[in-house]
């Protein structure tokens, strides 16, 4: 199942081109020019934004599994998938794992560009950043699966998932430092899973100081949403809307 999800994403090269182009322009045009206007002592805003862009991109790609699952149910493809000789448990874990693996494969070229461009060369720091990104992808995949099987109409699903994606990424410290966020966002931003992952990635890469507490919090996020996603998905498959 995981391999199938990985190959599905790479069968639509236009999506990869679009997101790749958006990433390049965002980091090397927008972030470069806007950083000439931003002066925060002790912070290289362009570097901070570059790392955050990779993290928000991985979160964004992880949400795509939700669209896939929703479409499969609408198009009747799910019935075929359920006839495959794998257990329901393997099926569900395979979907979540596939969503996370393809998100990490997809963002690795962008991550590599950033690592080379900014000269990050500590293997442990790079591994720590990648671990937090993988945990984020795994958790967001679980969140997207939970949504895809909880919301029943296509329009409502589109709106809910788009707003959630926007809120999780924007109300975070991935792209902007916490002290410069508006007051009404400051209270919630540190708890966004995107914030946890981006903070660990940035502190690992820029200061070689992984934040273990953040990694643990991301692990909890994964456990909660993977569990919820699996429970909802399992219930829908066995006697729910897909029965």
């Amino acid at each position: 199942m995981a391999l199938r999800d990985v190959s599905v994403l790479f069968r639509t090269p236009w999506i990869i081109i679009t997101r790749g182009l958006a990433f390049v322009i965002q980091v090397f045009v927008f972030a470069y020019f806007i950083s000439t206007l931003i002066h925060i002592p002790g912070l290289n805003f362009w570097e901070y934004y570059s790392i955050g862009s990779v993290v928000t991109t991985i979160a964004s790609i992880s949400f795509v599994i939700g669209y896939d699952i929703f479409e499969e149910a609408e198009e009747g493809l799910l019935d075929y998938l359920l006839t495959l000789p794998v257990s329901r448990r393997q099926f569900i874990i395979g979907r979540a794992l596939g969503g996370a693996i393809r998100a990490i494969i997809y963002t690795i070229p962008m991550f590599t560009v950033i690592v080379i461009f900014w000269g990050f060369n500590q293997p442990l720091s790079i591994a720590s950043a990648l671990l937090s990104m993988f945990l984020l992808a795994f958790g967001v995949t679980g969140m997207a699966i939970t949504l895809a099987v909880s919301v029943r109409t296509a329009n409502r699903f589109d709106v809910v998932i788009a707003l959630l994606e926007l809120a999780v990424s924007r109300a975070s410290i991935a792209l902007y430092p916490l002290q410069r966020l508006p007051d009404y966002v400051k209270g919630i931003a540190p708890f966004s899973p995107v914030s946890l992952a981006s903070w660990n990635a940035w502190s690992s890469l820029a200061f070689s100081a992984p934040d273990l507490l953040n990694i643990a919090a991301l692990g909890a996020f994964v456990a909660v949403f993977l569990g919820l996603g699996a429970a909802f998905y399992f219930r829908r498959l066995e006697g729910g809307i897909y029965a």
Binding site: V29, F30, F33, I34, T36, I38, F45
Partner: protein, 228 residues
């Protein structure tokens, strides 16, 4: 659309307002109209997507062509319909920007809607032209994204034109977003650096050039592809 606009304005633009300081300008007010123009751009592109869906998904184009109106009228009315939709979708957002600029009770509010309408006219035309040449929705989305990136990041939306190297100046000044945002900023009683003081009508007139050209292109493409 309004939720999208609100997140753009009250999180992203507000954050940039806190980030960009010492430029002698309230940066939040400087980029605030950008949130509304981005929303109008998204709404305007939706019209082109509808035209694409009518042809490839819903198979509605043949029915529309049986209606008792001439094809050029039908085609241009599709463009105008998209503009009206976009202006309606951004109606509350435009009000919010006018409130922030302190012109909500001034006749200038009409100019604000004129700017949104003129800008949308070009984008609707452009999105309909893309629909005529895209055989798959993925291709359509890719071209749309490329245009959105150009309009958003290679314009004066986030930063003054002087930030760019001189080699990029022609690209920035020929961008319709640059003129739309400049016209909006000229509505504000606050003077922004590098925004010419005076009547926004001049900027609106410049904006009308590409907008009318794109609207014409969209109309011609719609007529051409409906014959296929």
């Amino acid at each position: 659309m309004f939720a999208n606009f609100a997140i753009d304005l009250f999180i992203t633009a507000a954050t940039f307002g806190n980030l960009v300081t010492g430029q002698g300008v309230n940066y939040f007010l400087y980029i605030a109209p950008g949130s509304n123009l981005i929303t109008s751009m998204v709404a305007a592109f939706q019209s082109g997507r509808d035209v694409w869906r009518e042809k490839y998904i819903k198979d509605l184009t043949s029915y529309l062509l049986t209606l008792p109106v001439k094809r050029p009228v039908l085609a241009f009315s599709r463009v105008l319909g998209g503009v009206v939709r976009s202006v309606i979708a951004t109606f509350p957002g435009t009000l919010v920007i006018c409130y922030l600029y302190g012109i909500i009770l001034s006749p200038k509010i009409l100019l604000a809607y004129l700017i949104v309408g003129t800008f949308s006219l070009g984008i609707v035309g452009l999105s309909m032209a893309i629909s005529a040449f895209s055989s798959s929705i993925e291709m359509w989305v890719t071209v749309r994204s490329a245009i959105q990136l150009y309009l958003s990041f290679l314009s004066a939306l986030f930063y003054p034109v002087t930030v760019f190297p001189s080699a990029l100046a022609p690209i920035i000044t020929s961008n319709p977003m640059t003129w739309a945002i400049q016209a909006f900023r000229q509505l504000s009683p606050t003077q922004f650096p590098q925004v010419p003081v005076g009547d926004p009508l001049g900027s609106i007139l410049v904006l009308m050039g590409p907008s009318l050209a794109f609207a014409l292109l969209g109309t011609i493409c719609y007529i051409w592809y409906s014959k296929l």
